[in-house]
Symmetry: C2
Subunit: 135 residues, 2 copies
């Protein structure tokens, strides 16, 4: 079952500079900062006091999907993430409803066990499904 909006993710050129800006504007602080080489990004999550988090991602190399996104569109909102109790079950249910999956099985991401849906199945929005699990 989909429970809540877990985070909104913004693709940026410079993670450290952007973290400083977002901290100063919205009073948020990163709870996690991590390199995710398999996703080609360095990423940070900043929880808001009453729900939801802002994620910032910076590409690790020019081949990263995020580098291509930045080249094509510039900095901006990249995806948003919906939290569930069970990512694998949710992906399975969504595939049964005809959604094209980018990830057929849950994998480790910054937000837990995650899987992405193809935007062509969701009116152009890149949506991540995430299940929080201990690090």
């Amino acid at each position: 079952m989909i429970k809540r909006i877990h985070h909104v993710c913004i693709a940026v050129h410079n993670l450290d500079e952007s973290l400083e800006l977002y901290s100063s504007l919205f009073g948020v602080r990163p709870s996690k900062i991590k390199e995710l080489p398999e996703q080609g990004v360095r990423a940070a999550l900043m929880p808001l006091s009453q729900g939801g988090e802002i994620e910032l991602i910076e590409p690790l190399n020019p081949e990263s999907g995020t580098a291509k996104f930045l080249e094509k569109r510039g900095e901006g909102i990249h995806h948003f993430c919906l939290e569930t109790d069970d990512t694998d079950q949710e992906l399975c249910l969504l595939a049964d409803k005809g959604v094209e999956l980018i990830d057929k099985k849950a994998r480790r991401g910054l937000a837990g066990l995650v899987g992405f849906l193809h935007p062509k199945s969701t009116k152009g929005a890149l949506i991540e499904i995430a299940q929080e699990v201990p690090d």
Copy 2:
């Protein structure tokens, strides 16, 4: 003070068809559907059970900013919204920090008293600030 992610908004060509899709995929139902002629959109908000909402917007006419967004980028994530206790105060604080405002004063929107920040001040992300008020 910024409290939480209030909603994520997706611009679509056909609101009714998209509401049906999102309802079927994520088990959400619209709590509000409204024409906002001054913003040039018909919009719907769909709350998730444990926090955050998904908003869908459809342009009312070809001159609407949303129509231009769709023409340029196609359907997809349009903005996200951060909830505060006092939109006017928040806009004032953000302007003092050097943020360029699209709305200098709060105005009525679907999510309450709202104001938009210019994406050039927020790493390309279009961000709305909203204060919930009775309809």
